[in-house]
Amino acid sequence: MIPWPFEYHAPKNIAEAINLLGQYGGEAKILAGGHSLLPMMKLRFAQPEHLIDLNRIPELRGIKDTGNMIVIGAMTVENDLIRSPIIQSKLPLLAEAAKLIADPQVRNRGTIGGDLAHGDPANDHPALALALQAQFVLTGPKGKRTVAAADFFQGLYLTALAENEVLTEIHVPVMEKGTGYAYEKLKRKTGDWATAGAAVVMQVKGNVISKISIALTNLAPTAMRAEAAESALLGKELTPATLDAAAKAVMAAVDPAEDLRGDVEYKTAMAGQMVKRALGKARMRCA
């Protein structure tokens, strides 16, 4: 399997990359880790005339702690998230969940920015970004704009990114001390995408849930927040009854597509299971 021929560009900074995007428009594609794009090009599902490789732009890599916010360069690879002391201590959900993405080789190349920009509901970072209420910095010819994760995923392979924009940074609010969290992902084998996945971030006051976000992977045309389930839990204790109510709310909200991982009924049931597991684990971790 060999991709259709293309012209290769390796810009050295963001401005150069944006210029190239402006020059070639719809004929160009950005290359990040290549672990979604190159397989699609080999299958000829994608045939860009120009490939703009971001791998030689050092300013797009790295993780910075700015106090309340962790700033992650879009070209930061999964293994760098996993190994980062900043991510481990300030965003432990990301460090833990990134280990469930693909396999060691893929994690050396696959980037957080590519995982988000691809707009694939099967990818794990979109739900994680929703659960953590991340913001994305999109840089284009007119400068930067910031888009909330909640407004970024617009449909299957469809995001808020314009043709001439690059996702440059991911801003994630620090998880406060005592925050409970979990990412439960059902997969057929190591390295597989989720059959169903659920991310939970929560806080309790006394025994009562005072803050909660729940987001789901591969259960609709985009990653989604499970708002009805959140409302069912907010201000309440996590008991078998509220857990059931939350799972039911999730099962009513999902819209999974049948594929080799299962039919709609099975995936809906598994959505309920993953949410229950994630809630239970996150609650245990609340302090």
């Binding site: 259709w4 021929p5 390796a10 060691p104 080789q105 893929v106 050396n108 190349r109």
Partner: protein, 163 residues
């Protein structure tokens, strides 16, 4: 499309070659450099038979462009043995019967030597996790794990002797 000149070092030997941008690293290694150790299994980034070491990291060479490797250093399975002496991971696979048909083995070996640099003293679980990007249709993995354990032991004994 215009070819691009790249400079790469493969198994310690430097090469300057003009490549078509769409040329995959695996095809560059196998067809242009005649290094046929790394295999093409799935071609879809799943099996790991094409694993090589790129600038100190394990990568699947079927999902990387040769043109991206300008200035890089690559090790393939052909580069593991030094002066006719097998690398510890090669010896481990031989001693512990870590292969049957051998198709997955070049990728397994290259990944195993990198894993043991990342984590010289892995637990069985860490070996299984660390090797999870490499599929084997024959062995059932049991002997592959033993082979990596053999190599870990041998390398740590050698390191202790050198210290």
């Amino acid at each position: 499309m215009a070819k691009k000149l790249i400079h790469v070092t493969v198994n310690g030997q430097s090469h300057e070659v003009a490549v078509e941008p769409r040329l995959l690293l695996i095809h560059f290694l196998r067809e242009q450099l005649n290094l046929t150790g790394a295999h093409i299994g799935c071609e879809t980034s799943h099996c790991g038979a094409c694993t090589v070491d790129l600038d100190g990291q394990s990568v699947k060479s079927c999902t990387h462009l040769a043109v991206q490797c300008d200035g890089s250093s690559i090790t393939t399975v052909e580069g593991l043995a030094q002066n006719g002496v097998l690398h510890a991971v090669q010896e481990g696979f031989y001693q512990e019967h870590g292969l049957q048909c051998g198709f997955c083995t070049p990728g397994m070996l290259v990944r195993a030597q990198r894993l043991l640099q990342e984590n010289p003293n892995p637990t069985e679980d860490e070996i299984r996790q660390g090797m999870s990007g490499n599929l084997c249709r024959c062995t059932g993995y049991q002997n592959i794990v033993k082979a990596v354990q053999y190599a870990a032991k041998k390398l740590s004994q050698a390191a202790a002797a050198a210290a």
